[in-house]
Point group: D2
Chain length 377, copies 4
């Protein structure tokens, strides 16, 4: 029996079962900024569509660490650094996760990855973070861990790609977890089979030939989850309404980034933003009045038509494509051994290839608030 059981906890995760933490892991989990993640919902306002989707970045972070551990085991990696990167990869998330990250960016020019780095290193508005101290106490370098956590470390390229790569433990955890809590059982990822059929080649994780069916299934699950959850039109309407509220909000401050979901909401639930926040809370959402394929012409037409209304009374939402140049959501550059050679998955799987053709599905969706009543198309 270990000497110091106080320094060990078992946390029960509905998705992965018991997760044991101790030492540096336990100290980080107990720290203020990590505990704060209990109050940041993983899927923002998606619980208005999927009432079970109240899960938080707290458990997702633990799950990502656990996945990193499973993957490390099968790859015979005996190092805590990728696990620490996994545990901390989302520490910088703002209220409501991705929901209004674009609006925050507009005002403060930071992404959640930037904030992740700052919290891990104790910089800027996060100079009160005790995480760098914990990391150093155990002999690690906060900068190294920040690099792995944000997927940008050149020093630890393999670890970095485990946390953020063509197939990474972050994505595997969130796809499984979000499906679990949304009750969306359409896709499924057999992560243990996947982990058992990958190997390391030249500092990269590549699949063996027998990984192909599991990879195909993972690619498909991504698409199904984007279609059904992440880009669900009602989820997006609710998020855009919250964005409108923040635009209207008069007391903006960079410290808003530190708030919990609900303390943020309570702040906005007054003054000129009270009505819109209350409508979100009562699920009185903008109604979709128009939906067409995205073309620049269609976009110009609808923009022109809506211009006579106030900005805060309607939403023109262009559902992003699943793949796009800057940052591909559906990553196809995963490589596999195929008859002795290393090839990209879309070169050996006709199913993967056919999925990539499903690209130009961007839609424009227009929704309007209660003030706009007499519109017709």
């Amino acid at each position: 029996m270990s000497n110091n059981k106080n320094s060990e906890s078992i946390i029960q995760d509905p998705v992965n079962g018991p997760i044991k933490i101790n030492g540096i892991f336990k100290e980080i989990v107990d720290s203020h900024y990590f505990q704060r993640l209990r109050n940041i919902k993983q899927l923002g306002l998606c619980n208005l569509v999927y009432p079970g989707a109240n899960h938080t970045r707290f458990e997702h972070s633990l799950g990502t660490m656990y996945m990193a551990k499973q993957l490390s085991n099968v790859l015979n990696i005996d190092d805590d650094k990728p696990l620490l990167g996994a545990l901390l990869h989302d520490i910088g998330h703002m209220p409501f996760s991705h929901s209004i990250e674009d609006v925050f960016y507009k005002y403060y020019k930071v992404t959640h990855e930037d904030l992740t780095k700052k919290i891990i290193m104790g910089e800027g508005i996060f100079n009160d973070s005790d995480i760098p101290e914990i990391i150093e106490k155990y002999g690690y370098n906060p900068k190294d861990i920040a690099g792995i956590a944000t997927g940008k470390s050149k020093k630890y390229r393999l670890y970095s790609s485990m946390v953020s790569g063509p197939i990474d433990v972050d994505e595997i955890d969130y796809l499984r977890r979000d499906a679990f809590y949304c009750g969306v059982t359409m896709g499924h990822i057999d992560h243990m089979r996947l982990f058992n059929t990958v190997t390391i080649n030249n500092n990269n994780i590549v699949g063996e030939e027998k990984s192909i069916p599991t990879l195909e299934s993972t690619l498909i699950t991504r698409i199904l989850m984007f279609n059904s959850v992440y880009f669900h039109k009602t989820c997006r309407v609710a998020q855009k309404m919250l964005g409108i509220a923040y635009e209207l909000y008069k007391d903006k401050s960079i410290d808003d980034l530190k708030l919990f979901d609900y303390s943020f909401l309570e702040k906005l639930n007054s003054g000129n933003t009270e009505i819109i926040v209350n409508n979100i809370l009562n699920r009185k959402l903008f109604k979709v009045i128009w939906r067409e394929k995205y073309t620049p012409e269609n976009y110009n037409i609808i923009k022109e038509r809506m211009s006579r209304f106030n900005d805060d009374q309607y939403i023109i939402d262009i559902i992003p494509p699943l793949y796009f140049a800057g940052k591909e959501r559906i990553k196809n550059y995963f490589s596999v051994y195929y008859r002795g050679e290393i090839k990209r998955i879309d070169n050996v799987s006709s199913l993967a290839r056919s999925l990539y053709r499903e690209v130009d599905r961007r839609n424009i969706i227009v929704s309007v608030g209660p003030q706009i009543k007499d519109i017709s198309f």
Copy 2:
């Protein structure tokens, strides 16, 4: 295809799959007081122990209605009233559900059942409820529905016992749902097998002989869930700390009962209660320093010893027994047909009988806040 698809929704429940609602059910779900349940966590502060336990009374209410429907189907009951009672049975829950219901009771002399009745009938501080109007519009009587919802209807005794009886749809849903979100897989309820092996006798639901194994398993699951979740010592400490905070809080008002979990917490997160609320949020909970079997002597000894400290710096918690006179938590009066006669389950199942012996397990657990440091036992 039905004419009016707008009046129909399918809500995806991770525990039960798709739940279709329309007509009166949809109108109630869309009403303010029902939407409010999205912000009342089913298990209060238990998510500090089980990080997945963020589920709400909203989905539990839908699930209870769904269970009532499944049970109605197998019993050939074709009436919406038990479903309405099931849907509304928890509408009156206060912030953090049962967590500090006893403290609220001390100040306002109401239970959540009282409030359920008031919201369904539009009485008192809930005279703004639009639920009675919806109920009447569809030709039902709010008083009837309130009686079924609170399990006290004499007019509709069978329906009432479906919602609140020896084996009821409320309990079946919460046991399954809480286990799902806590990741506590120790017990399991095969509700479909149970429903398929019960029948109606003299306005009561009784089991057929072949229901016995499923009933035994249900009784056991209850006990396991009480031990592992509902009476988990750390959950109780967090709840008691919240109770202390409310006791200390200076601006108490009966309108607090209408608050969401988080707006309640934001209110308390200031002034003389800020520190304790922050400690809850950061999971800096009172530490257990003493644990013994409950006896009046033990209780007096410990009460005496702790009396030199301030009331708000320690907790003496007597874990309630699972069965007790006033209101049995583990109900043993379920009846089954056994070789042609109706008998109580504990008369025909030696397993049920042996479980009832597991009664006198009350413990006293003492925990203290950070101000109390020099205590030793």
Copy 3:
């Protein structure tokens, strides 16, 4: 409590939970030809690859009936005929299900659908079947039921298409069941969501618009299951070896069609077929020596090369395409309402469309027995 509990059984199905049967359903299940299905494995010799795949046509038939009941409920169909068709749809299966159906066809010119009809109507070698008598006793016409069971009834077109159509209860049960027993969790079918989003139009089952994501997921699951299970190369090798054994077998008789899997195997486990049967049993299967894309040229080349060996020492297997003219395995003619019009799924879903492009994946796989040792390519 019903008077005659003897006439009712609850059968526990790991995939669907408790299934209640009584009356005509119970009598059919108790009959000889239905009990016989306990001894016909659903997936033939696939258990050599997936050791859990020992499930039988018996439980699949019950499950298909149960699915028909669920679908009938949501479509408000109150008629036992589609359920009877579903229960009996596979009653005519031969030893090892589809494994060597082609070899049996060569000798006896019958398919399992032909035998299904014969058993339901008590014709030919199945004139000892007591099923027609049971059907008539309950006032139904065996010919009607046979028509529904084989999916060919013109009189009951809707019922027929429930059992065998673009999306049918047979397929939904076997995809779910085979995935369950193989442990292949890659795809998933949310049948309850699917059933809740279809409707009847002009005697056909069509999807509502909101059925599209669930349909896409079903189409994908089909493809994944064909790739991973039904067309698994090792499963096919084992089945082809069994086919070779039957070709070599000297005492062929049409009565072989009535045998159980194992009594068939015991018969073949002697004389000149003993060695090959023993190799199957000990999983000493032919080894794959060559694998190329199917082209007529490739086929001719390999056929020529192998011709110097004995027919029973090698297998040239052309994996069939998933779609082909005669009988489409992946049916794309399912229709959905889309913005008020009825359209084929591949006209409204770019994902469905892209999947259909994944057609020309036929491979030639050559495997050889132990006698062929000195071959090289």
Copy 4:
């Protein structure tokens, strides 16, 4: 990528997911006597009650090995011997597993543990076993492995107790597996939580204090599974009928112990045992006519009454108690740390204690074949 992928297989287990085997494990799995386990059903004739229960000793053996690996990992045991013992622990099972083990014992004076030892060591009728050779090739001693496999090794007491002890990997696998295939979801074992809360003390596996709830749940699951599956009265009737058939069978030989389930059945399906075997196959089982609590008096009365009939026309079955002197089925000698001391589970868990009281539940069940018609009680 490992050099020799031919020596590695991934076997998909529906209960545990992918199981990787290589080296000695793969060679043993490929050997004749291990492949033979594919044809020995885990639960004998229980599939007549639970139609999904067609799983075999083959997959249970793999699963037991996998559980041993998981347990070894958390206990930091880096040795293949306990895994080999787990893999081989059931290699000696006879046709239909435990179903008629008592009848075989009567004629041949061997248990399946005896045969396990013989196969592992290549003795007696199993001198054709190639398993000892494989074991020696990898540098192990067959006798050591046989000792661990049968749970009797004194040299490797810890390993032995992992395979067969108060809480062992054999039992954990079969309880989970049997529940899965029977669809009996009443109990559940959280094996990962259990493994994470045990430790080694003085060469024994003991639980930490936090293991208690999981242990209680495991004890309960055992009881539920015995009640619902292993001692299900209809399963027992079918097994006893098979025993009668073997008693009547004229060509008994010790080589019968080597047969598959089905080749054994085919042998018996002729001559004077054809009728009874056919009745088993068609599920025309003996009918229960009498059921009472076991007392010596009751037993004598019923024995006397039935004595006028032929031995092979009735069954007097005394359901064994769950605990009994010779070999306890429900083992209560598991030890846990409790407040610093090692104590037996029933000394610290009132639930465990109460379960042990559920002892004297032995029943006498009398069932009769079709020849006995005029009996009345």
